[in-house]
Symmetry: C2
Subunit: 418 residues, 2 copies
């Protein structure tokens, strides 16, 4: 049975969408429901592409509001890692479901996730109906003698993702960072990524300390190290990429790797620098946008974060024309980084799309693109469709109440929620 | 008839509120509706104080999404001022109603407004049910010979506010800025404010250019000029206050004036500096938070802006503990600046309060205060009550559809909306 959206607008013109078998069958003017089609009323809404969250740790929704206003390392070492050690599959499953519910609510159709128990993440993604690239986190504590364990963790993680057997979850490898993985293991991960043809996601150049420590330990800067060990390729996603110099940007450009800015998490953890879009543009780097985990943001609402991103660029350059709405939005949609997997709204393409309300105060007066970036939060999203499945209508996410109740139960179990 | 909220929480404990004649009659545990009371179901919500928007130009909702991504002066002189010249009372009335609808939706109970046709603003405020301090904008183009005209504008503006005869609208005087009002007129405004016992609101030290021009024209910095002309007093609200030096902060502190930060507008217009909370705290300055107008933000959602404010402070100081959630929230509630008029939630006090949903993904897991600052947008507000009148229940603002339709009509008349 086809799904047909009628009476909406697309680029300001009356339009509809016909969705069949997970793909867009027709889009634009004159699309109408036939007998037997499932009809979605689009009046008062605009059809827009979904957003792509290029970096998050979905299950960390369980840690939201736990241990805020702390430095990164204190937050990780004294608060997050001790609780993470207690997590089981069900915790990760329901934490991820909660994250998916929030992303569906706020218009994200695809995300890049780096978290423990990737099999549970993949199950949650499949059940929630979002698309995700999932990576088993790989850490050897900088001790190359643990490469065997790391290989086992990678194999088990990838097997667990495969076992969840959902076409929505794509596998990747997720070495945590250069300061938690030895160069030898990074080299193996690069080779494995090439052998399997799957992406690598890694935190890179998030803090100045990371650069200082890397220079001291390895005599080069973090991205130079990643280049030296063979981890830079078109399959590589560098999350944060804040403390880069020009040489590092050249290396990223030469390799065709992708950088993903996390403006809110960077400011919340006070890393001291703003991601430099103008420099990225000069080097033609593929750029994406991420929320980071709910533990360090604490929201997964990319329509809120795209405003933080655009404002940060204006502030950084003291140019109010920097990162104009159309560019910021394209980045939030993953359109400036092919690795992220965004596809255009066109016949034959996957039916991943949103209806946003254009009859409310946020988007009811004024142009749509600046409205989405500067005036709206994710609450303007009315309908979220991924792979042709309607995950939310009228702002209510399928299964929302059960997900919240179960996530709260897991939080109580972990002693995070009273 | 009393209104009784039952089954909510207050500071994590079961609680209710009894409201009678615009005031809080009882608040806390054990409050229950009696026969004849109007009962509001509070299950799944927390009772919290409303927010105070310390600086806005409400009717500029009509300009939302019109001429974004431009420098301040180009934006004002080439886009905003020409359209403003065409505004009539009905434009300002419906633009303000739209702003009020958005503020009610997102939990603001009181705002400070500076806009043309203050009588229309006051009528809109009275009809919408929000509290506002309204100021006729006063401008003489730096030409002291126009003081007579400026006095007339002040008198007419104040009379128009009075004529609207709503207890919700308080009068003030609103000289635009030191670069648009002559020192002689500023002196008169200071005297008039003292004579009438009403506040003065003025844009101050928003851009570096303002400081440079002031030094050139007057040999002193903007706040020194305000001090010299007698405009600094406990009744004075300085909007922006970004480009201050220590001497200026001393003068503000000595006078007991209030500074109101507008973090989003400052970043959007790329003024090049972030408001310095730590310096303000050192001088014990009263501090408030504002959205600025929807033309330069473009949202009036203070729960979004409080996150921008807190993150800006963390970035500025490279200290993730700067502006912790409790402090940022107190500032957004007007609790750190008595001039702004916020009152505590206690028996005998005005019934200005919110119910926020604690059963959704944003506030459903984790502590409330960091949740409100870092995880929530204004969409978590379920119920907004001002002066005992219920302006919104279940997220739907009274009269929303008519307000949007009328505001769109006015936008079309002005050629801002197609």
């Amino acid at each position: 049975m086809a799904i047909v959206i009628e009476g909406a607008t697309l680029d300001g013109e009356p339009a509809g969408v016909r969705i069949d078998g997970g793909s867009i069958d027709a889009i634009g003017g004159g699309v109408e429901a036939g007998p037997g089609d499932e009809r979605i009323e689009g009046a008062g809404t605009a059809i827009v592409p979904g957003l792509v969250n290029g970096h998050t740790h979905a299950a960390m929704t369980l840690f939201r509001g736990y241990a805020d206003d702390l430095p990164l390392m204190e937050w990780l070492q004294e608060h997050i890692w001790p609780v993470e050690a207690k997590l089981d599959d069900e915790d990760v499953y329901w934490g991820t479901r909660l994250a998916c519910a929030e992303m569906i609510r706020t218009g994200t159709v695809r995300f890049w996730d780096m978290y423990w128990r990737p099999g549970a993440v993949a199950r949650a993604v499949g059940d929630a109906g979002l698309r995700a690239t999932i990576g088993p986190p790989l850490i050897d504590g900088g001790d190359a003698s643990k490469l065997g364990e790391l290989k086992r963790a990678a194999a088990e993680g990838l097997a667990a993702i495969e076992e969840a057997s959902t076409p929505l979850a794509a596998p990747s490898l997720a070495p945590h960072a250069i300061y938690t993985v030895s160069p030898e293991s990074l080299t193996w991960i690069g080779e494995e990524s090439e052998r399997l043809g799957i992406p690598v996601q890694i935190h890179a150049s998030e803090t100045e300390q990371e650069v200082i420590d890397c220079l001291e330990a390895h005599g080069v800067r973090p991205v130079e190290l990643l280049d030296r060990v063979g981890l830079l390729s078109p399959r590589t996603l560098l999350a944060h990429a804040v403390w880069l110099d020009e040489r590092e940007r050249e290396l990223i450009a030469a390799a065709g790797a992708t950088v993903v800015s996390n403006p809110v998490a960077n400011m919340k953890l006070a890393v001291g620098r703003i991601f430099d879009l103008a420099a990225s543009r000069r080097h033609r780097l593929p750029v994406g946008l991420g929320t980071d985990g709910a533990g360090s943001n604490n929201s997964l609402d990319l329509l809120a974060d795209v405003k933080h991103f655009a404002l940060g660029q204006k502030h950084l350059t003291t140019d109010p024309a920097a990162a104009p709405a159309s560019e910021a939005l394209a980045i939030a949609r993953g359109e400036r980084a092919p690795l992220l997997g965004a596809r255009p709204l066109a016949p034959g393409e996957p039916a991943d799309l949103l209806l946003v309300r254009t009859d409310g105060p946020e988007l009811g007066v004024g142009a749509l693109e600046p409205g989405l970036v500067y005036a709206a939060s994710g609450s303007v999203v009315d309908t979220t469709i991924v792979a042709g499945r309607v995950l939310m209508t009228k702002g209510v996410v399928e299964g929302r109440d059960e997900i919240l109740e179960r996530a709260r139960e897991r939080g109580r179990r972990l002693g995070l929620v009273s």
